[in-house]
Symmetry: C2
Subunit: 767 residues, 2 copies
């Protein structure tokens, strides 16, 4: 095994392999694709949050010149039209009722998008309004109106690997995750203090610059879908189910994707485009507007109540977590997100007695699905806020309180899961140090705060394959199912292959992702690609290397074991060299040859693990911040932000820093700015003007990211995945700092100026 | 091993898997592809057969509104602009001189094709006409003007695996193949009779319904080419050379191809489209007209002189073959075609003493390249005509003369080559029988004739890879580099995979051919696909099957050896079954998995073999015909045609019959109708009106094809390739029948009515 110091490709700040294409505007995204005979789809969406569909008549729209076809509930009856990531509770277009403002009711396909838009107005829909539930509290109140009457989702629930106990029958709770250890009641009695605090997290949107876009074409034999999605193989499974076609007759191609953050996981609007093409046999393009993306998927709003038993000396002793997440009108990935929120709610701490109950709740709002952090953001906000609140109550320094309770490397989070794979103290001390934690802020209205997280990463049960092809000139094409969403896997995975094959990076290219030909990959999610796909790519390169050495052994008349690879050539011990291309040409006796290496990664299954599969690795991040609060306006100024990530080994340090910086900025968004504002079930700000994301103005005045490389990851060259760890601590770190600065503790995000100002006012008045 | 009687997919007349797509017009050909920002190219072609290029000024054209770019010799200097299948004697556009009418001089790229066409007129070209050679006799005459002055082609010649002896320096002969055995001079002295006859074959065109079409797009990082070509990997090699890019940065995609017949092998007009995109970074579409395809590639005209020594009893004893082929202005595949023509010129007969000299000759006409039969058509025409001529001279029945001299199964054609792999008599007797050979035609002016051929098939040195992917629902995607040109490999290869994996054919689909992801295949040519790619696919399926059984062994808790596959399910001996999808899902524990099988076929290399590699298999065909000649008009009516092909095992009998019928009709074309008519170096009939191909009117009144299945092929299930064997005997069979019918022997094709009439007249006058 090579020493890190001898790496030629890994650990280098290689330029992004997709860089030139992207900065020159040549990179192809789904929206760039035009096909001969293409028609354009638009969706009619429900203006009501909850209503019975009395009538849907699209005949006038269908007769408009330029309209190719309409799609209503009448058109989907022959299809297996119910679908969903977890439960089949969603229909291609609404059938019996609409469940949120934005729910697709019908669609029009026309020769141009404007005509399709125009035709939407001609669709005659009669609604019979129903009472609605628009938040967690409404939805779980006794006698609340039901978003789903029960038959659909319940049927699926029973057959699902997830479960909702019988007691939730006839309620809006569609999923329940429970976990218990020790003796909670006893422990609360024994604990010196028991603190119960409730935290709220709000609905935010992924805000990908590229909205959901797809092109579907069914030619009578085969479906081809170009989609801006993060999991083409899952999409293929779903479409196979809907259209009752074998997987081999569905081909999903993924061009570059302009941001995903989880919002492009699982099925979204693809079935609408697909059904229109199924009906018309024409290529159908469906490009959502940004506003429609807001009405397609969001992050889960959540209510998290933590009841924590703690000893006087600061020892955590017991915790009960009551979690409710708002999954909106359809479950989407909600149950899985809720499960993860529950599972992650103990944080990186040793807590002997614990009980977790996490509930996924239907409401008449936009469906909530996968979103960077996947349930972890909501619970980290809660447990890291409460850590500081308890530290204050007990008069213990928040850093010390954490240090005292942190799990040690090798310790167990829950029985059956992977032991903790890094030193949790290291990063915390690094942040504290950089923040000069012990040095009190001297300026008035300033304060410091920190937070950290530990997240079971990689996703539950990953499978990934990769292929490495060495052509007769020695250059390589890599086949990988990881989607390039902007996060840089094309570059990092190419670096892994280049390192393993000891060749220049510019000789490696990545083939277009196409489910027909690309080896299976479960999804691009959960910070998994560098580890999971990285290992598949590394193994494929190793397989190719083995074959290359065997060829070289024949050609160079040496034993394979006596040969080594360096800079694109095979070297003998005596100093003879042959470039890879020469080896392959001579072995095959002409240009007619190549070497194909295969690699596969599979997570282990384990019945002992709480989630059925031990975590691939622990993603750990730490954040610290110094803020200044203006008590007159409530404006929080970020004076300094420090983020530290444990990455095992950075394949491309510049990209790793970029990811971590992005993660923090993302966190700043939902901590201070972003919020989907609802009124009476209507979303008021689904646009780029009224919904505010961080800009350069919101950058911390000082901002640094730091990576820890101890080679402790299971990935290639000791790498771990990263990119979410920087995000999770932000909200609590800022809230903790605000509390220190102005003495107010805000437990419901975001920390907008009016909210901070009001809290300060209230505090001053209560004095 | 299964018995043929138990086959479920192989040997069945399965419907073409591309059938629905094609009859509904949904199948995508290169011409159907449109890309955003696409521009359209047109080529300015030389009006002169041979001229020095004094001036090429495209500045006026470049300034025309709508013109994106022009391409002249000034634009290609930085490229490695010389290319060619065998020698690099061709330039992207003409540099120093033009060498045939149609030689590309410049190109224009414009926003629409009409504007590009218009701009061609604005290109100012000054030619200085040079003396030309327009046929073999001209070109090999002493002191003939040289098509190539020698430096370019010669330089390549020296480094080539082919060779031209020093004595051809400074001539138009660009390639020479020689072969000798026994003692020819002695043998001619010992022979009872020595007959010397010369036969001529004319230039004909491939006449693919789809002319050459390609789209090239260089985005600054990677070249993507959609091309109607038969050998995308070879094209990739050539473009890699021209643009000095690694193979991994060149991606060739092949949609359906509308006919090839060899005319779409090797590089054609792709470098022009590619150079325009290289210059402009825009997608470039270049669609040749039919007329331009006529000016791109043709079949080799040939002059074949056979001097044959024969014994009184009919025993062939010695033969000298002097072959000259007209390869036109550029070598293209000419040297290889000439080599094959030479190698094949002894026919299926035992001839102890032999000498072959085959020469490829440059002329100022359209380049001649690969064409169904690849040199075999020209020499079969000669040797099978001469067989009948000798039979007549000796008073021996032509069938008996052949039977007496045919090689036996297991006998050697030339030392080092694969022994004859079938019974050559079988088909001959079958044809004679079906033709009622011994029964004299009773009607006046009618006659019977027959011919046969034996062709070293599969191409010289084939390499092919294939991949079989079984998805988690048990359906299969096959990755194969064989181009679907209409000849049916998608169906046949799918049948092979379905048979090997014991699954329904409709669960198998074939992925798009894309050099980035499809395993290497050298080319779709030489009747090779069923054997060569067939074996690769079969091996890939076997590899997948082995893995599937291993998975099933785990899932079903059985030994793999105790399991068998049947109808898409794994069966245990006790009768338990599990569909493939279930096995994969249970093995992987979710839908997240697949099985990938790899297969590779490589021809053997052998220094002992005359051509360096023993033939993959012998392709053998027989044809018999009864004609009626109208002495008043010279019109030949085909009363009955019988074709017999040795196919080893027909994977899809209906397709095999279709191929053989097509081959015969193809032969009828060049035998009786097709001819490229030149006058003073100008091609007079490059269009679909003046160049006549057979239509339904030209079908024989009775027409039957018969296949012999002895399982003697090296391919899957005993298959051999076919599709050329039916073509080769046609011309000689018809000429032999005409001779019997009206007593005239025509030795230069085609047998057009005027020619036949004139021969009859001449004969009558000479009486």
């Amino acid at each position: 095994m090579k020493k890190p110091s001898s790496y030629t490709a890994v650990g280098k700040n290689a330029h992004r392999v997709d860089g030139i294409e992207k900065v020159t505007g040549k990179a192809v995204y789904a929206g760039d694709i035009e096909l001969p005979g293409m028609a354009y789809a638009k969706i009619l969406r429900s203006p009501m949050a909850h209503a019975k569909l009395v009538k849907v008549d699209a005949s006038k729209a269908a007769n408009l010149t330029g309209v190719v076809a309409v799609l209503t509930r009448d058109d989907i009856k022959d299809l297996n039209y119910r679908y969903g990531a977890t439960y089949k509770d969603q229909c291609i277009v609404a059938v019996d009722k609409v469940r949120y403002v934005g729910d697709p009711v019908a669609a029009v396909l026309a020769d141009d998008p404007a005509r399709a838009e125009e035709a939407l107005d001609l669709i005659d829909v009669e609604y019979e309004e129903l009472p609605k539930v628009t938040g967690i509290d409404d939805a779980i109140a006794p006698g609340a109106p039901l978003v789903h009457e029960g038959d659909v989702a319940r049927a699926e629930l029973r057959g699902s690997t997830y479960g909702a106990p019988e007691r939730f029958k006839g309620t809006n709770i569609c999923y329940y995750f429970g976990y218990e250890r020790g003796n909670l009641d006893e422990a609360f009695k024994k604990a010196d203090f028991v603190f119960e605090d409730t935290f709220r997290f709000h609905k935010v949107q992924h805000y990908s610059l590229e909205p959901h876009t797809n092109i579907a074409y069914y030619d009578g034999e085969k479906f081809t879908i170009w989609s801006s999605c993060q999991d083409p193989f899952t999409l293929r499974d779903h479409l196979s189910g809907i259209f009752r076609l074998p997987l081999s007759r569905i081909r999903v191609i993924v061009p570059y994707v302009g941001g995903g953050y989880g919002g492009k996981l699982y099925v979204k609007c693809e079935p609408i485009a697909a059904a229109l093409s199924w009906k018309t046999r024409r290529p159908v393009k469906l490009v959502l507007s940004i506003g429609e993306s807001f009405k397609t998927v969001t992050r889960h709003a959540a209510r998290v109540t933590l009841k924590t038993g703690i000893m006087r000396d600061g020892r955590l002793f017991a915790r009960e977590c009551q979690i409710f997440t708002d999954t909106g009108a359809y479950a989407d990935a909600g149950p899985r997100v809720t499960q993860k929120a529950g599972y992650r709610s103990l944080g990186p701490y040793r807590i002997p007695h614990a009980k977790i109950e996490a509930h996924s709740v239907y409401t008449n709002t936009v469906p909530a699905g996968a979103f960077r952090g996947f349930g972890g953001v909501q619970v980290t906000w809660a447990y890291e806020s409460q850590m500081d609140m308890m530290a204050e109550r007990l008069g213990i320094d928040p850093v010390n309180l954490r240090l005292q309770n942190l799990l040690k490397k090798g310790e167990i989070y829950t029985a059956g899961d992977t032991p903790v794979d890094c030193d949790l103290k290291e990063g915390l001390l690094k942040v504290a140090d950089a923040l000069k934690w012990k040095q009190k802020s001297t300026k008035r209205y300033t304060g410091k705060g920190l937070g950290m997280c530990m997240k079971d990463a990689g996703g539950t049960y990953k499978v990934a394959g990769a292929t490495v092809r060495i052509s007769s000139d020695g250059s390589v094409v890599l086949l990988t199912g990881t989607v390039e969403i902007g996060q840089g896997p094309r570059t990092a995975l190419s670096q892994i292959v280049a390192e393993e094959l000891a060749m220049p990076l510019d000789q490696v290219t990545v083939a277009q992702l196409d489910t027909d030909v690309t080896p299976y990959d479960i999804s691009t999610s959960a910070s998994s690609s560098t580890v999971v796909m990285g290992l598949a790519c590394q193994r494929a390169a190793q397989d190719a290397k083995k074959q290359l050495l065997q060829c070289a052994a024949k050609v160079m008349k040496q034993k394979a074991a006596a040969l080594s690879l360096k800079n694109g050539a095979v070297h003998t011990r005596s100093g003879a060299t042959a470039p890879y291309g020469k080896v392959i040409m001579e072995f095959f006796g002409s240009k007619a040859g190549e070497i194909i290496g295969k690699g596969l990664y599979r997570d282990k299954r384990s019945k002992k693990a709480v989630l059925g599969s031990p975590t691939t690795f622990w993603e750990v991040g730490w954040g610290g911040v110094e803020v200044e609060v203006d008590p007159e306006t409530g404006i929080i100024k970020l004076l300094n932000y420090i983020s530290v990530a444990d990455v095992g080994k950075a394949i491309n340090p510049a990209q790793v820093h970029g990811q971590d910086e992005g993660a923090v900025m993302f966190g700043i968004g939902h901590t201070m700015l972003e919020e989907m504002v609802y009124e009476d079930g209507q979303l008021l700000n689904p646009n780029l003007v009224d919904y505010r994301v961080p800009t350069f103005e919101n950058l911390p005045q000082k901002f640094s990211t730091s990576i820890i490389e101890n080679g402790n990851g299971p990935g290639p060259f000791g790498a771990k995945g990263m990119g979410e760890g920087g995000l999770l601590p932000v909200a609590s770190a800022v809230a903790n700092a605000v509390s220190q600065a102005v003495g107010v503790r805000i437990q419901n995000l975001p920390l907008t100026p009016p909210k901070v100002w009001a809290a300060i006012q209230e505090k001053q008045q209560s004095r």
